[in-house]
Symmetry: C2
Subunit: 336 residues, 2 copies
DNA sequence: TCATCTAATGATAGCGCTGTCATCGTAGCC
DNA sequence: GGCTACGATGACAGCGCTATCATTAGATGA
């Protein structure tokens, strides 16, 4: 094991006091240029790296940004992570992740784990924290960003979009394309899914084409296979269904394959619309319509807001709405 | 901000010295039952949570397990993460991730970042570390597990499989099914991809069916759209190709869609085999053959090995080979 | 009964760093 | 020339915890 080099050793080598080395490293403009040069040389010569634990203890603050997401395997969240990572990887901040498994209680617990480290910032997915978690977030004396979603009452800052409105826009598209018997496919039915369903329902009702019997849902997590099963169940029960708004792209992909198996031409007999616009959607045959959500951008913006606040700069508006767009493709080309 | 409660305050409340509280928390069997009870009550009453930074500074060791993976969006790695998480979430250990972006230099740098925290353990993807990174790992005085892959020269412990052999098995399957002009589709071409290609090549040559002109690769990261493009290029240049071994499932899915567009029936005109066996493979139409890799299990095992070592238990064999299996499905049903 | 051992608890010091205030020297000014 | 003001550097203490050794009380045995 390489021996640990301390500030004191660097200081001795540079012929200054430890505190001056500390300053030279953190606020280089507060030490004389030649002093700084001697210190830099000593740091390089000894291969000094600061001890994050010691710093955290002395400052009462860790250079860690905690991220709470429901799932590590759902592409929707990993895209946000990638955005965060991109924006933070060259800074002094480390990211630490917690996976809530869509369980509010787990989220609350992980929040406690993070908070005891006195993180520099906190990023949480969604707006559905428990009252206790919400209180913890409000009392956390660090910037907090809620991502994935916008809502009426930010804890601090927010980057996301309205799932209700996005689903409504997709539904509007289906109706505009001429589908008159649209259905809904949903899995897991977590709060965001529910809000998408509400958007679908509101718009379908407005268009006079809503039928609760054409809504097929399951509490199970979504998957391609699950989408296939849901579509089969729906088409068996309600054969008049001529389009489906799927709660996410996996379900839509499964619906496409099942439509093939059932011999329903897409889009003529059945229109299919997904949600999130993962890369695979445009490559499918036929290409699948979806709602493009700016997940990577969400991560980048969230990281930037936190950085701005920590650096004392203006973080800009506290609520950023990254409006999604319906990517119309062949799978919703209209009924024949 | 909730005021921080310290060990000393708990000690005062319980009428013991701070060090006894520390012991009661870390090794409950070393304090009297009634003392312990008083301390537990005080901890609960005050809502005490230990400060990880102070502990790390005092012990010279952080309860953090560092994980280095190439990508946060590739399902292959996130499945491993989920396994790790499952096994470690109820322990005192936190996971900290670093994304190497498939760049050895980034891996080396992140290793330095992790090491300065004196992590309790380290998990790295693959066996292709730079010499400097390898040296760092060897000198790290903590358990190290290389995951995703097996190789001849473990730094410490290893959980994975032979990508060469797995690809060879898939190729053997194609040949056994009667395909005589198999091709290869590959993207990114990182070291693991290269070894899969080598496995394909070795087996195809052994069967007398290898043709380098039937290998279509790109340095670009893999995607469904990319798989479609690769298949189109291959079939245009080498129309006699009657099957493709795709380096991963995204490419296979893209190849399937492109085969549809080109009017090639799968599996009669074109057999398709993927790699990893993501969930979507079984749900496709036709269902896609793939090589099932035990990614979740890899994460679980890696975490267990590290825990065993840290707890002084026997970690079992230092090298675990989680042999993948070819999941034969309709997409390789054989040529007509 | 007394030395000896063991289990339980405590006192002390220090992990590596930074916040706070003190000190020093020098420039600028009347 | 003497004063203030300010920039650069340093001394000191302490963040919250644990390693180490010391101490105490009780158990054990001759």
């Amino acid at each position: 094991m390489a021996k640990r080099v301390t500030l004191a050793e660097v200081a001795a080598q540079a012929g200054v006091s430890p505190i001056t080395v500390s300053r030279a490293l953190r606020r280089p403009d507060t030490v004389q240029p030649d002093t700084r040069a001697r210190i830099d040389a000593a740091v390089a010569a000894l291969g000094y790296v600061p001890d994050p634990a010691a710093r955290a203890l002395a400052t009462g603050r860790a250079d860690v940004i905690g991220v709470l997401i429901p799932s590590a395997t759902n592409a929707v969240f990993t895209d946000v992570l990638t955005g965060l990572y991109d924006e933070l990887s060259e800074t002094r901040f480390d990211l630490q992740y917690g996976i809530t498994r869509y369980e509010p209680a787990t989220e609350e617990k992980l929040l406690g784990v993070f908070l005891r480290q006195r993180p520099a910032g906190l990023i949480v997915a969604g707006i559905d924290q428990t009252p206790a978690a919400r209180r913890l977030l409000e009392r956390a004396d660090c910037p907090v960003v809620q991502v994935m979603e916008t809502g009426p009452d930010p804890v601090d800052m927010m980057v996301g979009f309205s799932h209700h409105d996005a689903a409504a826009a997709a539904t509007r598209h289906l109706i505009a394309q001429g589908y008159r018997n649209p259905g809904f496919l949903g899995a897991r039915m977590d709060p965001r899914t529910q809000r998408r369903f509400a958007g679908f329902r509101a718009e379908a009702e407005a268009g006079g084409v809503f039928d609760p019997e054409r809504c097929e849902t399951t509490p199970v997590p979504s998957s391609v296979g699950g989408g296939a099963a849901l579509l089969r169940a729906l088409m068996t029960r309600r054969p008049e269904t001529d389009a489906v708004f799927c709660n996410n792209d996996d379900l839509a992909m499964g619906a496409l394959f099942e439509a093939m198996r059932m011999g329903f031409p897409v889009p003529e007999r059945l229109g299919i619309c997904g949600f999130n616009d993962l890369e695979m959607m445009h490559a499918a045959e036929p290409a699948l319509t979806s709602v493009r959500t700016n997940r990577f951008e969400m991560g980048v913006r969230a990281a930037r807001m936190i950085r701005a606040r920590l650096d004392g700069r203006d973080p800009g508006p506290a609520l950023i709405d990254l409006k999604p767009q319906v990517q119309a493709r062949r799978s919703t080309g209209g009924p024949s």
